[in-house]
């Protein structure tokens, strides 16, 4: 499943559409960056409420397929800019990470 297909099926809004054909392989939930850094895997859809520039760095270094900001968490302006520069997909949803994970689990 591509990030674009994920966006349609989970009704996510693109905040940064960088590489929408990227494959989503699995998922990870977390807001503490050093947990995410060491546990998230390549191709993960990362569910979080953290929308700052450091999250973009973690997503790049960890090769995440996309960041999904849950519960309408805000994306900082400098984070948006960095994501555009570095090609990181960022999406947003009003739902929480549990509900979104359940839906993703059924699709994978």
């Amino acid at each position: 499943m591509t990030v674009k297909e994920l966006a349609q099926k989970l009704e996510l809004n693109f905040l940064v559409e960088a590489d929408a054909d990227r494959q989503v392989l699995s998922g990870y939930c977390g807001d503490l960056l050093s947990w995410v850094m060491s546990r998230a895997k390549e191709g993960d859809c990362w569910f979080t409420v953290m929308g700052n520039i450091n999250c973009v760095a973690v997503a790049v270094l960890g090769d995440c397929a996309c960041i999904v900001l849950c519960e309408n968490a805000v994306l900082d302006d400098d984070a948006r800019l960095r994501a555009e520069q570095q090609g990181v997909n960022i999406l947003q949803s009003e739902e929480n990470s549990f509900n979104l994970s359940v839906k993703l689990g059924k699709l994978l």
């Binding site: 050093s34 390549e42 520039i53 450091n54």
Partner: protein
Amino acid sequence: MSLYTLHYDVPGDDFTRAGEASGDVKAQLKKLGFDPGTVRNVVIALYEAEINMVIHAGGGVIDVEVEPDSITMVLTDHGPGIPDIELAMTEGYSTAPDNVRSLGFGAGMGLPNIKKYTDEMVIDSTVGVGTVMKLRVNIKE
């Protein structure tokens, strides 16, 4: 014999740039053709150490040496030093201030992650002088 060396100055307290050195090292290692597993180990360890230098020590310098069988990273700062290294290495131990925690740091997992993803980790720290962290990742055949 070193094949390749890289040097970075890491500014202190600039969270918008934190991770730049790690990102560059990742790109260079990929370009040099290292396997994804090795690159991942290097990048996780280096990112955690780089961020620690920014958050806890006001920045510093990073030197990376790429050799045929290993990648060595030396991070040097002139921050406050680490008074009790064993304690600092404990999962969950953190002195990160609230403003940094609100960004998602401060789980106290950085140093344990570094240990997990490297083959050698040596911390040489003197209170009031600074910290030198030497990390080595062996290249698997």
